[in-house]
């Protein structure tokens, strides 16, 4: 049963370790040995290829849970921060490479251009983070249907609402975004409908700093000065 050129590594023959391999049950030493063995053993390689999807299915077979919203915020905050740092350091190293380039190469460029590059670098370093890089992401419940979900990204005074799986608006109706300040519900000019897939991304007009929540209601086409229906989305900001 062994592959033609594979060393014999298992007294039980090939592919007896394949199942333990895909289940992650080989001790480290055997794991290393088996992976080397697979390079030349088509029997074990095929066995692993056949069993791997079953092992993958095990990972998805567990009781489904909802991950915490603050976990998302922690992870994505680190990811955006890392991306920002990489972008800054990439610009810095580009300028360093240029500065270290041979003189004859550099002489083709004017001193003014150098100054511009350095200025650009300083601007990048000193510019406040972009909208997404410091965004606070709030996962929001949508009451229309259990399949709908929404997130509100808040950066400084700017907020953007993204919905997924929302039902289509009824004929002659739209969704309207509201900002809650104190006890008042203030209308915005953000009226939207959703795609066939129930998706939409809407910038919340104005500055949301100091606001208590962003809400969405279904309103007659053209919007309403005051809500006529119960909100389908309530995104608390504080």
């Amino acid at each position: 049963m062994n592959g033609a050129s594979a060393p014999h590594i298992d007294p039980d023959g090939c592919p007896s370790k394949a199942a333990a391999y895909v289940l992650g049950a080989l001790p480290q030493e055997e794991l290393d040995e088996f992976e080397r063995h697979m390079d030349s053993c088509v029997v074990c390689r095929d066995a692993v290829a056949g069993m791997q999807p079953v092992a993958d299915a095990l990972a998805s077979s567990v009781t489904p849970l909802t991950s915490p919203a603050d976990l998302r915020e922690r992870v994505m905050s680190s990811v955006y921060g890392d991306a920002r740092e990489r972008t800054s350091s990439a610009h810095a190293s580009a300028v360093r490479r240029w500065a270290l380039a041979p003189l004859r190469w550099r002489s083709a460029v004017t001193v003014a251009a150098v100054a511009a590059a350095v200025t650009a670098l300083l601007v990048i370093a000193l510019t406040p983070a972009t909208t997404s890089s410091r965004a606070r992401v709030i996962r929001v419940e949508v009451t229309t249907t259990p399949r709908a979900s929404a997130v509100l990204r808040v950066s400084g005074g700017h907020a953007e609402l993204e919905v997924i799986g929302m039902p289509q608006s009824a004929p002659n109706r739209v969704y309207e975004v509201w900002i809650k300040r104190g006890g008042a519900l203030l209308p915005t000019n953000a009226l939207f409908t959703v795609t066939d897939r129930g998706s939409a991304t809407v910038a919340v007009p104005g500055d949301v700093r100091g606001a208590m929540a962003v809400l969405v209601t279904s309103e007659p086409r053209g919007g309403s000065p005051a809500p006529t229906r119960t909100p389908v989305i309530v995104a608390p900001l504080s």
Binding site: A20, L23, G50, A57, L65, P146
Partner: protein
Amino acid sequence: MPKPLRFVGGDDSAESLRLLADEELVALTYRSKPAAFEVIYDRHVDAAFSLAVRICGQRALAEDVVQEAFLSLWRTRARYDRTRGSVRTWILGTVRNRAIDAIRQRSVGDRGRVDDAGLEERLVAPERTDLEFVRREDARLVRQALDQLPDEQSRVIELAYFGGLTHVQIASMLDMPVGTIKGRMRLGLAKLRATIANPAEIAP
């Protein structure tokens, strides 16, 4: 030789990104586009968290595991090799390895097993998309297939995959030859594969 991934132009709106396949999103993350990674996170985090809770038995530890796993995935995204499996496999494999490491580091006395039935009642995730619905149906199918395995086969599979035990450790724990354990793993996986391929054979 895999086909090169389609490069998507400058349209980075969340709506556009959400239309892309996982592999296309990973290709975009090579260019340090965190918004693409955010979509990947949203698609798979619930499955990752569910797996971590299943292995760790504690939500707090599972949260740490998932956080470390996704940050590790972001840092090592250039190493993703789609010829070795889907993005979901890559993510869940990373989460599983981190979770196993976490429970190995934890003292045995602290370890607890979560009551799955209770959690399901309280924490079941809403079905957000059709794809998610299909995944949940698949997951249910696999759970039923596992339930139909002979106990001795499902036990060694669960001890290995969710318990992080090697076949040598399982053999020692059950006081059986390693060859027997390997055989049960092999038979169990083969039956699971056959049952999943023919769902009609699964008893309701």
